[in-house]
């Protein structure tokens, strides 16, 4: 799966949880879930659960804690897909 495709699919997943929609216009690796998109920690859990379903992977606590930006999420998804 290409990086571009992962990011496209991520964008679709996070869309319903975003409170600051301007953050979506410039959705890229540096986009920060809390600061740019204003997704709160409770909704971030739902993002992670949706990511697990979408990519058929399991995300552990350590990975979750390191998932601050779209780029972090992309790397975690890539690693987990490789490990499957």
């Amino acid at each position: 799966m290409s990086e571009k495709e992962i990011i496209e699919r991520l964008k679709k997943i996070v869309e319903p949880y975003v409170q600051r929609s301007e953050g979506l216009e410039n959705f890229q690796e540096k986009t920060d879930f809390l600061n740019d998109l204003e997704i709160n920690s409770a909704n971030l859990v739902d993002v992670v659960l949706d990511v697990e379903d979408e990519f058929d992977i399991e995300i552990d606590n350590d990975s979750m804690e390191g998932m601050l930006t779209v780029g972090d999420a992309k790397s975690i998804i890539q690693d987990k897909i490789k490990a499957e």
Partner: protein
């Protein structure tokens, strides 16, 4: 952890404690009950000369039994919990079917949908003494044990 220990860890007190007893609890569900004392202050104003338990209070009762009690039980399974519990309601979607009058006892039944990354989401129902459905919905919250971070 037994049922009484869980009550001791609840971060509420009167007049905002809405749990009397846990009847059953396990990894996936909890059942508890509460009797709405006619002495509650909100009955004076909700409604004028016609006391009915406010829906927000029913939701609170569902959340305290269905989420917080179950959350304490689940957190304590991994390691014993401290006194420094942080909880927050994150979402609730509830439908109401029957009124609850002063003095009524209700039973709350909650089934876990998931508990991941400190977020607990449950399907919760409340029944009255005639076993009629009072309200039901899906409620979620965060429950975090801040050990050592006073």
């Amino acid at each position: 952890m037994d049922k009484k220990d869980i009550l001791k860890h609840l971060p509420y007190s009167k007049p905002f404690l809405f749990v009397d007893e846990i009847l059953e609890i396990n990894e996936n569900s909890v059942t508890g009950q509460y009797t709405f004392s006619p002495q509650h202050d909100f009955y004076k104003g909700h409604f004028k000369d016609n006391p009915v338990t406010p829906g927000v209070i029913l939701t609170e009762c569902m959340a305290q039994i269905g989420l917080v009690c179950l959350g304490i039980f689940l957190l304590n399974k991994d390691s014993s919990i401290s006194e420094n519990l942080h909880i927050a309601l994150s979402s609730s979607e509830v439908e109401y079917f029957k009124p609850v009058f002063p003095g009524e006892t209700v039973e709350v039944v909650s089934e876990k949908q998931y508990f991941r990354f400190n977020k607990l989401k449950c399907k919760v129902s409340m029944f009255n003494n005639s076993e009629e459905l009072v309200c039901r919905g899906v409620i979620a919250g965060m429950i975090i044990d801040n050990k050592g971070n006073e």
